[in-house]
Amino acid sequence: MDALSALKMVTTPPAGGLSANSMQDLAASATKSIPTAELQQLSSINSDSPLQTSGAVSAGSGASFENMLGGLVNDVAQKQASAGSAVTGLLSGQNVSLHQAMISMEEANVSFQMMVEVRNRLLDSYQELMRMQI
């Protein structure tokens, strides 16, 4: 998927390189680019503060950001997969209507954009925090 490789490019790849097709690796690498100690600190801040992060975040222990990102990536992967199967069904003459296929594709696009924006905001806020620590 070309859009996924765009996402990969802006995420610092770990030394060993990324396996091209695994979105789980993508999630892991996105969190690895933020050093683990910092991640723990951020997570503890998160569980202490009364402020909630958006969406369905799992119980605020240890690796909540990692879980959230992982869940997000899984959801997006599912959406992409169902869009792909809708288009395949349409092209192979099965009972998929053109409207269904177009809607599936657009939902997958929107989901993907959502993930990209979440990633952007996370990295922005991480960089903001890093600047504050000195």
């Binding site: 959801d75 269904q100 929107v110 954009q113 924006e117």
Partner: protein, 126 residues
């Protein structure tokens, strides 16, 4: 978390009604194809399904709406104006054809609009 974006009941209702309008077009196509066939009975979307859909939309229950399955049924209210038992009336059917196409366009606009608004909310631009 992603699924929460797409569970607004109006959006789900628009998608379901889009499917229904496509199915209705198939019924109308079948009816107009058989306008000269002796003893053919006209088809339409089954009225029990229509009633269920209207209830679910009024109740704004997304899961309920999404689970409904439309189906075609013989229109028992149609009477035959001809000696060969065929219950299709050309003018009525043509009216329904045009009305259905407009409804389909409307549903498509609703769905497309919802998705465009989501995109705007996420990225801040179109």
């Amino acid at each position: 978390m992603i699924d929460a974006l797409f569970t607004d009941s109006d959006y789900v209702a628009a998608k379901k009604m889009l499917d229904v309008s496509l199915l209705r077009h198939q019924a109308i196509a079948s009816n107009l194809a058989n306008v000269e066939t002796p003893n053919y009975k006209r088809l339409d979307v089954s009225p029990s399904f229509e009633a269920q859909l209207r209830q679910a939309v009024a109740g704004q229950d997304s899961a309920e709406i999404a689970s409904l399955q439309p189906a075609l049924a013989v229109d028992t209210g149609a009477i035959s104006g001809r000696s060969d038992g065929n219950t299709v009336q050309l003018e009525t059917e043509m009216l329904k054809l045009n009305q259905n196409t407009v409804e389909n366009t409307l549903e498509t606009q609703l769905v497309s609009g919802s998705l465009a608004r989501l995109r705007l909310a996420i990225t801040g631009k179109g």
